[in-house]
Symmetry: C2
């Protein structure tokens, strides 16, 4: 029995219990709460946040972490728990309360200004607010540098979402990614083999779409119906996943004339949910019993959404079911046309509408802008021009006003600097996992075309999910694949896949 260690873990149990309580309240707010309840709910959530912060920043935690770390007999798992606890403690305590309060206030103001400026297509009205929130996050990054051992404020912020990853690494990876993506996108766009996607706008009643949801959940083994179910699916405007271990819930959205939107929302969120549900049971309530990073989480959602869910093999098995559920609606659409249509490559202005191939460029643009901003190579004033230039250069699209340009996302207004990289990292991690999966289970695609995802899921569980937060993502990827981070497998996967669709 290591006294300070077990005391600390007992405290962490309470933290996870209260944190997961907050998740349920937040989920309820989005899905079930009577509209009038919003003021009360805000107060309940604020109290939970305050209490959690109080528990997390208790100086006793700092003492316990230090005392526990001195013990000579710690197992590697215990050391990892202490490392993660310390990381969280440092992140929560190294910022002076004044900065935290100022940031919270400025975030609200900047988001409000962003909404108005976006509606008015008026970047100059937004700029001073964005500058203020940027200055505050820069200051936070500066203060986080020392406890994190980061070289720059930007690295320190990136390390919060994606521990062990730096802007320098990202630049190398994203340059590699760009040089793979840009020519491939160009070839797809220029190809004569363009799919007719008009049928994706056919009206499919919401009740019918709900049946598609149930069938998809069953197809990927996200259990929402059995007496042992640990999940459920509800509706919100923006789909999300939330929960902890045996209670992990996803949401989706239904648009009568965009039935594919629900399909890929379910597959994406289902990928997140399977990760959370498969975390090792014996690590519940411990820091190691959590997902490894934002980027790793995104690798799991994209693996199920794209690598599995947009593959011809998945639709070989699932398309007959989809046709059965939708009656005559897709009677004239061949499986081949369907799969090509949901893999249409079409450069666009809006990130959240981007396809698998162009998506990464949207992320890289944001990362590069952030990086240069934090490095002092550009100013908040110059962002619209830089944004528009990059969109023209990388994606070949012309931004007509800043509402569909630099002001399209809420992230920076909300102070979320150092977070966008996770989306593209998810693709890179996923590509590397796929390469290893191909080696370990050469017939996984043929199994998938017969309707079985079991071995793929077992592989993800064994290699990714069951390792929880035992390693930072780059180290985890090395454990899984034996390789350091590389974009090559992702690009190769895309080239193979899209060469077929577009007869390249």
């Amino acid at each position: 029995m290591i006294e300070p260690y077990t005391t600390l873990m007992d405290r962490y149990k309470d933290l996870y219990l209260l944190g997961s309580t907050g998740s349920i309240l937040a989920w309820d707010m989005e899905t079930k709460m009577p509209p009038k309840g919003i003021a009360l709910r805000s107060e309940q959530l604020a109290l939970l946040q305050k209490t959690l912060h109080h528990m997390l920043t208790d100086p006793e935690n700092g003492r316990l972490i230090k005392q526990a770390a001195d013990h000579p007999d710690l197992t590697p798992l215990q050391r990892r728990n202490l490392h993660l606890a310390n990381k969280e403690y440092q992140e929560a305590t190294c910022l002076p309360e004044e900065l935290v309060v100022d940031t919270a206030r400025q975030t609200a103001l900047t988001i409000d200004a962003w909404k108005k400026a976006k509606a008015a297509k008026d970047y100059p009205a937004f700029r001073p607010y964005l500058e203020k929130i940027y200055e505050l996050k820069l200051r936070a990054g500066e203060l986080l540098m020392e406890p994190k051992g980061s070289d720059t404020p930007h690295d320190a912020l990136i390390d919060v979402s994606d521990p062990g990853v730096t802007a320098h690494q990202l630049t190398r990876l994203f340059d590699e990614m760009k040089s793979g993506l840009i020519p491939l996108i160009r070839k797809c766009v220029d190809s004569d083999s363009q799919p007719d996607t008009g049928f994706l706008k056919r009206k499919i009643p919401i009740d019918t779409q709900r049946k598609i949801t149930d069938a998809l959940a069953q197809a990927i083994g996200y259990d929402i119906t059995s007496p042992q179910a640990g999940g459920r699916i509800d509706e919100t405007e923006h789909p999300f996943t939330t929960g902890y271990y045996d209670d992990v819930r996803v949401t989706t959205h239904y648009h009568e004339d965009k039935f594919d939107s629900n399909i890929f929302a379910i597959l994406h969120e289902g990928g997140h949910a399977l990760y959370e549900q498969n975390l090792p049971r014996e690590w519940i309530y411990q820091p190691v019993g959590t997902a490894c990073s934002s980027g790793l989480h995104e690798s799991q959602s994209r693996f199920i959404e794209n690598i599995v869910g947009r593959s011809p093999e998945f639709w070989t098995s699932f398309y007959p079911k989809l046709r059965e559920i939708t009656g005559d609606a897709l009677a004239d659409v061949t499986p081949e046309l369907f799969v090509h249509a949901v893999n249409l490559v079409k450069p666009s202005k809006i990130r959240i509408e981007a396809d698998e191939l162009t998506y990464g460029l949207h992320i890289i643009i944001r990362f590069e802008i952030e990086r240069d901003l934090f490095a002092g190579k550009t100013t908040v004033d110059e962002l619209p021009q830089i944004w528009n230039d990059k969109y023209a250069s990388y994606l070949g699209v012309e931004i007509e006003d800043d509402s569909e340009g630099v002001m399209q996302d809420t992230h920076w207004a909300g102070g979320a600097f150092g977070t966008f990289q996770s989306y593209a990292l998810g693709n890179i991690y996923g590509g590397m996992m796929l390469e290893k999966l191909n080696a370990d289970l050469p017939d996984w695609r043929s199994q998938l075309s017969k309707g079985s995802l079991n071995e793929v899921k077992a592989w993800l569980k064994e290699n990714v999910h069951r390792r929880g937060n035992l390693y930072d993502a780059p180290e985890l990827i090395k454990k899984i694949t034996g390789k350091t981070l590389t974009v090559t497998p992702f690009i190769e996967y895309l080239e193979t896949k899209y060469s077929k669709f577009y007869s390249l």
Copy 2:
């Protein structure tokens, strides 16, 4: 500014926020939670309970209450808040932790023994467990006597649910009630005017019943659909109401061949919900901003369920809607027959299946047994015989085994001594309110038959709901009616109503 008072009220705000957080988690557990989530949920709720208890029993609260009470300039409302805070503080702190822990453990054991003994119809197997939980509650009652100023342990326990009410008073009231109910029930049973109730077993599909639910919610003004709605209706095996101010939720249950079960569940729980929603907004997060007592709460649910919801006038307006929703199912059932059928008087063994008239006797039997047990006039060993004798004498029914007798309810097994009286008090309070309503709004029944419940609801809001917890129930009733507690109005209401149905 009265410093200790405002500090105390700030603490109370956190208590109500955390308490209402627990309510949402408990609601979610019953209605939405994936089944696998139960272990995690139990831990979340246990932590909230522990935290709430810790906040409530903090000795600083006791000091603040004392300091605040010394201030000469307190308003009556502030004095009431201090009185209620002190009551809660005393109830939470006067029991030694050992007793609390023993009681929690014994409750779990006794409920488990009750389930098994009930299934096996084996009271002797249950008896020792019941004795233990009774001894623990007796000890709690003894310890609560002093802070509550109660004369007996039983009175102290009653005072927790129904402050200001004693066993002595209840004996007087319930004797009066018995002598009114027993002959009236006999006359109804002996009458030749018996309704045919067979149509109540006709199958009404659940989806149709959901439409009845929505129409009933609209009829009583329990808003579940508008953008300002503060309520919602979900499904559970046992209907209940939970929530706080702007987020008050009810549940119902659907049985295809008992469609009236849902109807009266909605009306009953709707009555509870309207009370909670109408508490004075300016008293939110204060002790006065809560319902007055269990008995008073029950008066509101029964007012809407029985006095309104089983009245001929309500069905004059609502029956056409019911027929419209149910298609041909009730085409041959006259409104008169329908109303009589849902007011069938039929003595039975099981409390939760009892009608409006016989229900009170089920409660009185339990109260009398409890009272004599706590007074040492009877023993746990003798309960089955006493139970069966009283059922034969008051209700004229013969209990064949203890599973349908003394072991039918879970309450005593769960240690809920001193709580049954609330149900019958609810009827008494409701009768007195009705008498005053008749005087204040002589044409409320004719309004109701035209489909308007507005003035009745406004009356209840003004006289009951908006007074929150400003007075103990007997004092509140005096404020409303000018009278001390009396059963006469309730019995007169029943005699008038049932004389018509049964041509007495």
